[in-house]
Symmetry: none
């Protein structure tokens, strides 16, 4: 089997040196190139066919987020594992949205890197435990914020049902057909929804529902 071709992107030479040594100790890995910032990396990938990129996030000139975005735009099949020094990382979401396949702390154990490379190479994902916790914390934060800021009105079962259908784009007639009720009844439920939410027409109600995340995208 061919070796897995890896490119390192990090602005600290010392880290690259150490990390290269570490990776070369895996018999199945070959470090084919290195870059010290995003721009350098972008020109590198034109000439090198890599399987996996280890990408630092904080870098001069062009940071890991933008570099990853641009690289994945051109080569969507590229597999990038993001590296970060500390955990207080605001870029986590951005990197995930950019489409990286993994996200790890630089301080991870050797075995973790081995595991990550194999998993990502095989088409999977790898995330450090710490990263997963961080993500989950973010979700929890979101949840708590939601609870605090909206004391949402309470809806009856029918109202919830109607609201769901409204937010699917159904008109009164369609909702009536779907629920086996008369249009008039649907109108009444909507009327109640208007009152409870402080809205005054369907469009407003839909906007309200989206803003308060009563319905999902």
């Amino acid at each position: 089997m061919d070796k897995i071709r890896v490119i390192l992107v990090d602005d600290h030479k010392i880290f690259r040196d150490g990390f290269r040594m570490l990776l070369q100790s895996f018999s199945f890995v070959e470090v084919i190139a290195e870059a010290s910032n995003g721009n350098e990396f972008l020109s590198l990938i034109e000439d090198h066919q890599a399987d996996i990129i280890f990408m630092d996030i904080n870098m001069p000139q062009l940071d890991g987020v933008e570099a990853s975005q641009k690289a994945l735009e051109k080569y969507p099949d590229l597999k990038i594992i993001a590296l970060t020094t500390f955990l207080d990382d605001d870029y986590l979401e951005q990197m995930l949205m950019a489409g990286v396949e993994g996200y790890m702390l630089k301080s991870a154990e050797i075995e973790e890197f081995e595991k990550a490379i194999v998993k990502v190479y095989e088409g999977g994902n790898y995330f450090s435990d710490e990263i997963v916790s961080l993500l989950s914390d973010k979700l929890n934060m979101l949840r708590k914020k939601r609870k605090k800021k909206d004391d949402l009105p309470e809806f009856t079962d029918r109202e919830k049902e109607v609201l769901e259908l409204i937010c699917k784009g159904y008109g009164n007639k369609q909702i009536a057909e779907a629920t086996f009720l008369s249009i008039k009844t649907i109108e009444k439920h909507k009327s109640s929804l208007f009152q409870k939410t402080g809205t005054y027409n369907t469009v407003n109600l839909v906007i309200y529902a989206f803003k308060h995340q009563i319905i999902k995208f």
Copy 2:
């Protein structure tokens, strides 16, 4: 040290039996109660002080999502680990938003459960690798959707202006007043928007705009 008090919630007695045996094999765990559905669980927790809940998701009467939501509303410090049989789970997001501390496959290894209990008991989170991959896949889906968004139809200046006002909740009349145009003209622009977006009424158009992030919250 006191044992970690655990409650099991699952509608299959056989699974509960097996799982209880498994948990009891950990010297530091004590299963203090069991429930076979959400309602039963909700009345249970009034009388039992539990450290960790293992919560099945698919259950009759009251499913794991709602049960967790209600329980956490009353006892926000409750630590819930969600259990699921298969991976094709639409409830993942809902459970996370409900605020569970962990999410695992029932088919997980014994060591995983041990690890999960300890981590969650100590205030952390635990998610099965498979769950993490699933989450990451979802993020990737989001990313791809964003990319698709790029081939949006092109709107004229007036259309963009009208769309913005629509998404603020304005009716045709209000838009007409705000733009110093006749209602009829607004209607025509909306009509064009319908055609370009493949929608057929204002509500649909608003949903379209939100989904494609044409307008911001």
